[in-house]
Symmetry: C2
Subunit: 223 residues, 2 copies
Amino acid sequence: MWAVSTPALVRRYARAVSTAPRYHHGNLRAALVEAAVEAVRAEGPAGLALRELARRVGVSHNAAYRHFADRDALVAAVAEEGMAALSRAMRDALDARDEADPVERARSGLRAVGRAYVGFALAEPGLFRVAFTTPTTLPRGSEEEPALADPFAQLNAVLDELAEVGYLSADLRPHAEIACWSGVHGFAVLCLDGPMRGQPAEQREAALTRMLELIDRSLGPTD
Amino acid sequence: MWAVSTPALVRRYARAVSTAPRYHHGNLRAALVEAAVEAVRAEGPAGLALRELARRVGVSHNAAYRHFADRDALVAAVAEEGMAALSRAMRDALDARDEADPVERARSGLRAVGRAYVGFALAEPGLFRVAFTTPTTLPRGSEEEPALADPFAQLNAVLDELAEVGYLSADLRPHAEIACWSGVHGFAVLCLDGPMRGQPAEQREAALTRMLELIDRSLGPTD
DNA sequence: TGTACATCAGTGAACGCGCGTTCACTGATGTAC
DNA sequence: TGTACATCAGTGAACGCGCGTTCACTGATGTAC
């Protein structure tokens, strides 16, 4: 059952205790992804070079090929990491709600995911950009980045909640998720690369609050 | 007054008539920008390489340095071109309105610029991307891309119109332009690089119509 | 329990690529006289 | 009107860069016996 023999275990333990640089890294794949995330934080998507990352991890420049088929595979791994982090941020924001009234709770949920989305983009611009980078080799007919499905699902859940409690009417529900997503995504991009780049935080904050208010208005009843 | 002497005129005419390749290109700067626009159409921002463009224009690879200080200057020229084209598309859409009722006219104006914005992004994805590319050497404290001011001004004008005719209340007016811009910009980006990439046109069209409807709702009166 | 051997995860040198940029230059153009 | 000369817009060779990728290899590890 236990595939590791005793002498192997002893050797492994000695290795783990030793501080000398090891020939076998132990967890190179994870270390490369971690370094890639750091690089992306510091330099954006352009920082994702296999040679540079290997250098940072302290490993020869093509050791990476044991763990990634090519550069694109590494970029994809980082993108997945970024999307997962975004998803976590949204979920945490949703979980932090404490409203009792169902309608207020649903409405604040939509604001919460929106705020979390924009907040993540501004806090982690590099990861955010990579997460939305179109892979150079588009996987024709493949599953189209399942990781992306998760933030999407959360947004849809909140909108369904808004519909269930009667705030969002059924005939406005279709495509509402695209409209909401467009709003927060566009806001994030305009802050990172557009006219709002370099604006003071309170200015951005005021604009974001206004936008979330308008999104809320756009879905609610007219009377 | 006329700075060109007669023999110079004669020589220039002979040149203009001749079909032989000329040592002096005549309008290299414009030709390079045009080639750059084409390259961006075909390959996106990555297609903007001085050597490649010089090759296309049929000129030695560093002739370009007579007209652009460096690569960034060329990219900036293309970005300006793209932003101008976007601005034109918006203006044309606004001019095409024919509603008589002031409120309806203002509301359709907002839809028109939104549709034009997204339409341009989808028709010219390369130019659109370059137009929003942050220059690598950010001009610290400079005027922050005045070309961008023009689409922004048009959007603001339409929103002012909506306020004047009484559709958009004064207290919702501040920051409304950011919210609207975020919506259409985000929609465009999601279509180009996000989850809506590769979706059929009618699907995108339906989602866009819904988003423009929601934007209209978000600004209008509640009663 | 010890050892031979297969397997796996690294190394280091090398190739070719296209790029931006600089240099010293040459051909074409415009104009003062 | 013709010519000498300054200026400008191009050429071609070269440098150095960092990259992705491949190759033949070696050291470490795990395990069958």
